[in-house]
Amino acid sequence: MIKVRREVCCYCGACISVCPEGALELIDAYLSVENETCKMCNICVRVCPLGALEASDEE
């Protein structure tokens, strides 16, 4: 699953625009990942300008 490092994310939304599944959303200044929708393509991890996203092996 995709993990958000909250202390690094500055809620810019860049990752949201590239997620092909629409699995990311900013809710009340918090980036949420819908794990059921996410296909683990890692595009969002790649695009984050700050390195706030991580792909983790956890289910």
Partner: protein, 399 residues
């Protein structure tokens, strides 16, 4: 907050504000919803805009909107040679670095003065769709989820746009066409006031550029955008920016960090649907070369407000009727510039540093009577016919 309006606008950026103002001035009931607690903050922008562009919307500019007037620019090639665009040459390309915290707020203020209602901390979480037509949004506001119905809904929700997706339109930006950006607001740095600086090259900003936009004495937005495909662990936008700052402004102080995405892709294939108009970054209309999108958002926003008014007065909000919006912006100067600049960008992102050096060196002694991005590119093409043979297919844009 009422449960029904003529026009519902999702997003309180420049696109949403101008749409709201135009629709309110035409006597419609208008509601703007903005999910953030404050309009204009945090700023996700380098805040640059051309004088001719902003002047299209205002007879007079409020001094508090402007951080600095820009009178010239420097373009630095990978081998550190410099193309200097002096104030005398800058001609119609002078501009401003805005203070968007004030600017965006005042745009909404003007819309509210014209009669629109605005709610902050109000987030669209879904679209109301009936028989294929958009009839408003489901909105979370003040701890409640409610339906806000509208004859026409305007999606002005920026680069992170989800509203059009709720309506069934795919707005995904391809990875290679998203410029991933990081920027510091820095102070105590040696800069030339009134001169913007752009660095290009694979080392400094692969498939993008690094910018310095002065905000005042010894203060500037220093930022970078690189292509999504070039971004990887240890080589993200912020890493490139930190490297540059360490070398050039080691003593500088950072007072703000922002990040963001800018789409450098073609606009959405269609920017209307039954009961829906999409504007600004949500429609992917930022400039593919410069990443500039303030003007484009304001232009499409205002147009959307005007066409919405026309359609509501005629009682027809079908896609066919709203197509006037799509057709008008595509055939406008802005629409044509987007089409042309996309093709040019596709050629320029492929150039390596050697080619970039040779191109910038070829124009370094050029004196142009009147400067614009287009005249510069025209000169580049003229001086580098072999290097830019792909551009010959774009000849039609330069004639």
């Amino acid at each position: 907050m009422k449960s029904e309006y003529d026009v519902l606008i999702v997003g309180g950026g420049p696109g949403g504000a101008l749409a709201a103002k135009a629709a309110s001035e035409n006597g419609l009931s208008v509601c703007i919803i903005e999910k953030r607690p404050a309009i204009g903050a945090p700023v996700r922008c380098a805040e640059g805009i051309g004088e001719d562009l902003i002047s299209e919307f205002f007879d007079e500019l409020d001094p508090k909107w402007i951080s600095t007037k820009i009178e010239g620019a420097k373009l630095i090639s990978p081998d550190n040679s410099c193309f200097y665009l002096s104030p005398e040459m800058a001609g119609n390309e002078v501009g401003y670095v805005l203070d968007r915290k004030f600017f965006d707020r005042d745009l909404i203020w003007q819309a509210v003065e014209a009669g629109a209602e605005c709610y902050v901390k109000a987030r669209a979480v879904d679209a109301i769709v009936e028989n294929g037509a958009i009839k408003g949004a489901i909105v979370e506001y003040a701890g409640e989820t409610r339906e806000i119905r509208a004859s026409i809904t305007i999606a002005a929700d920026g680069v992170e746009s989800k509203f059009s997706r709720y309506c069934g339109i795919d707005t995904t930006v391809p990875l290679r066409e998203l410029e991933t950006c990081a920027q510091y607001l820095m102070t105590d740095i040696d800069i030339e006031e009134g001169i913007t600086v752009f660095y290009v090259g694979r080392e400094v900003a692969p498939e993008g550029y690094l910018w310095i936009f002065p905000k005042g004495k010894r203060t500037a937005n220093v930022g970078i955008g690189i292509s999504g495909t070039q971004s990887k662990n240890g080589h993200r936008a912020k890493d490139y920016l930190d490297k540059y700052i360490k070398e050039h402004f080691p003593e500088g102080k950072t007072i703000e960090l922002i990040a963001g995405g800018v789409s450098a892709c073609e606009p959405l294939e269609c920017t209307v649907a039954d009961g829906l108009i999409i504007v600004g970054d949500a429609a992917r209309v930022s400039d593919p070369i410069t990443g500039g999108g303030i003007y484009n958002a304001m232009y499409t926003g205002r147009l959307a407000g005007q066409i919405a008014s026309k359609c509501i007065k005629s009682g027809d909000f079908s896609k066919d009727k709203l197509m006037e919006y799509d057709k008008t912006w595509r055939s406008s100067k802005m629409g044509k510039a987007l089409e042309r600049n996309y093709q040019i960008k596709e050629v320029f992102v492929k150039l390596n540093d050697k080619q970039l050096n040779s191109i910038l060196n070829s124009v370094s002694n050029l004196v142009m009577k009147e400067f614009s991005t287009l005249t510069l590119i025209r000169e580049i093409v003229k001086l580098n016919p072999k290097l830019l043979k792909e551009l010959t297919s774009l000849k039609k844009y330069f004639e």
